[in-house]
Amino acid sequence: MKPLDLLGIWLAARLPESAATWLLTGIDRCRTGIADRDLYLLISLVSRHVGKTPLALTEAELQAGSASRPGWNPRDWTLDQAARVHLLGASTSDGAVMSERLDRLCSAGELGELVAYYRGLPLYPDPSRYALRAAEGIRSNMRAVFEAVAHRNPYPAEQLNEPAWNQLVLKALFVGSPLHPIVGLDGRRNPTLARMLCDYAHERWAASRPVSPELWRCVGPFAAGPVLDDFARLFERGTADEQQAAALALREATDPGAARLLDLHAHRAGDRADSRLEWERLATAGN
């Protein structure tokens, strides 16, 4: 089943009759060719009709979601977000039209709408068209908008070029947003990002400000040379969480010096089987 159809089913199961009827009428109008102006008004009226309570999907529904669109995780979606993406998706299957509409809607969007449009990124036709739109969302000063792109959204890892991807990761740390909900984080680590993150850690240390232990997750595979000094510093002067993060990160390094450093401090790290869960714990415990 297609993701848009799933959205329709999930909404129908949750909305009271009047709201469900309003939405179905809107979907019909969208499918039969709606004027831009009417579409914009319709989408802006969504929160007044369907409300903003969480969609609260069951495990089975979430599984159906990721089966229909790999990587899609609407766990945090609300009713208005699902309805807005559903309406927008029903209005066209032409990527060029969608991209133009999305630009127009985002230029006039309020916060709730922006979150919906960006969460919908993995569902729009002709996915390569929205990379600049996603990068614009990452530049937002509104954290909720940034996280709509960055968290539990497979789009960035699939479509962003390396500079935009690296900005996403660095900005997450910059605004105090956790890294572990970023889809595809490990697969898109790269030496440039590792260098940027080390520079950022040095800036924070110079200002006597804390550094998120999660940062080292993206540095580990490239730990070598002077970067090993940073890890040594973590082992010697870091908090318990930072030491744990350093050990987890160095496990992925290939440099022999990194292996020696890890051996030296292995006793601090314990032996954790699941590093993914451990990184998640460090994100929530660290700050």
């Binding site: 102006r37 914009y40 008004l41 802006s44 009226l45 929160s47 007044r48 903003k52 230029s107 006039a108 969007g109 309020e110 916060l111 709730g112 709408e113 922006l114 979150v115 000063n141 509104m142 954290r143 909720a144 996280e147």
Partner: protein, 308 residues
């Protein structure tokens, strides 16, 4: 005591203002769309301005613990550029249905020209079509006649007076506004529109039914603490606390609350109005019980000696 400032142009104000407003007990503001001191020449600048009212400014206010709402419309001054006004009328439906938009506003008359009349009527029709409230700006010049005319046209167009707020009243206009069943708002403005002392006398004479006050603070000389300062003076001069609460909080909420877009629970729940805002500011005043009768605290400017 907590306050609502139902007419203030926060886009023109600083973060210091937000901090002092929150400290003085202001929990919610309504920002009407208006002009920017000099006329706009492009529809694009209108779009960006309206987008900021529903987007960035609301987010910014929340950072200071203040709930932000707005009214959307074409103001009377800029209605006189008809070529531009036509384009603005076309884009208003993009914004009117958005979350937190409590009314069509501020619209009405300035010079009372034919063009102003045309777009005032067109926007009243939009309000009727969308079932929305209206916030009316009454003119500075020829005020009494302009105020009467604003109400005449609203009634002629079929609006219920109870869904229309007539703003910037004075001693000469208030009686007719109340007699005809409209909401009467007063702008407390240094030197020009209305001072706190004059309003105390109005409150004494007209009571607190269908009356409320605002600051209309903008980019000109104006005071974003006008509402709490006037409340303080009213209490000191013996106006009953219930009347102060009505004119500085409850009546504005009752009037604009008819839109369903502004609700007391937004600031009383002890949570941010929208959890997606990931609110990270001070928590003064949220979740407190109202203490009717207390004198509002008017913060002095307090400069920290160093940047931390």
């Amino acid at each position: 005591m907590r306050f609502i400032d139902p007419h203030i142009h926060m886009s023109a104000r600083t973060t210091d203002d937000y901090e002092r407003m929150a400290a003085a007990g202001i929990v919610a503001v309504i920002e009407p769309a208006f002009w920017l001191g000099q006329p706009r020449t492009q529809v694009g600048t209108f779009l960006d301005y309206l987008s900021s009212l529903v987007g960035w400014e609301r987010f910014r206010a929340a950072q200071f613990g203040i709930c932000h709402y707005c009214t959307i419309g074409l103001n009377s001054k800029e209605a006189n550029n008809e070529a531009l006004a036509e384009q603005v009328m076309d884009v208003l439906p993009l914004y009117l249905g958005k979350e937190g938009v409590v009314a069509v506003g501020e619209i009405g008359y300035d010079d009372q020209t034919a063009a102003e009349d045309k777009y005032y009527r067109a926007q009243l029709q939009l309000a009727l079509d969308l079932g929305m409230l209206v916030q009316v700006h009454t003119p500075h010049r020829d005020k009494k006649r302009g105020t009467s005319r604003s109400m005449d046209v609203a009634i002629e167009m079929g609006l219920d007076p109870g869904s229309v707020v007539i703003d910037h009243n004075n001693e000469e206009t208030v009686q007719e506004v109340l007699d005809r069943g409209f909401w009467a708002a007063f702008t407390l403005y240094p030197e020009t529109k209305m001072g706190s002392e004059r309003f105390v006398e109005i409150a004494r004479r007209y009571g607190s039914t269908h009356i409320f006050i605002d600051s209309s603070a903008d980019w000109g000389k104006s005071d974003p603490l006008a509402v709490p300062k006037t409340a303080r003076l009213m209490l000191e001069r013996g106006i009953p606390p219930a009347d102060v609460e009505a004119t500085c909080y409850a009546n504005a909420l009752a009037a604009f609350g008819q839109s369903g877009q502004i609700k007391e629970e937004h600031w009383l729940s002890g949570k941010p109005r929208d959890e997606r805002l990931l609110y990270q500011g001070n928590s003064v005043l949220r979740g407190q019980q109202p203490r009717v009768g207390d004198l509002p605290v008017i913060p002095e400017r307090d400069e920290p000696p160093v940047i931390k």
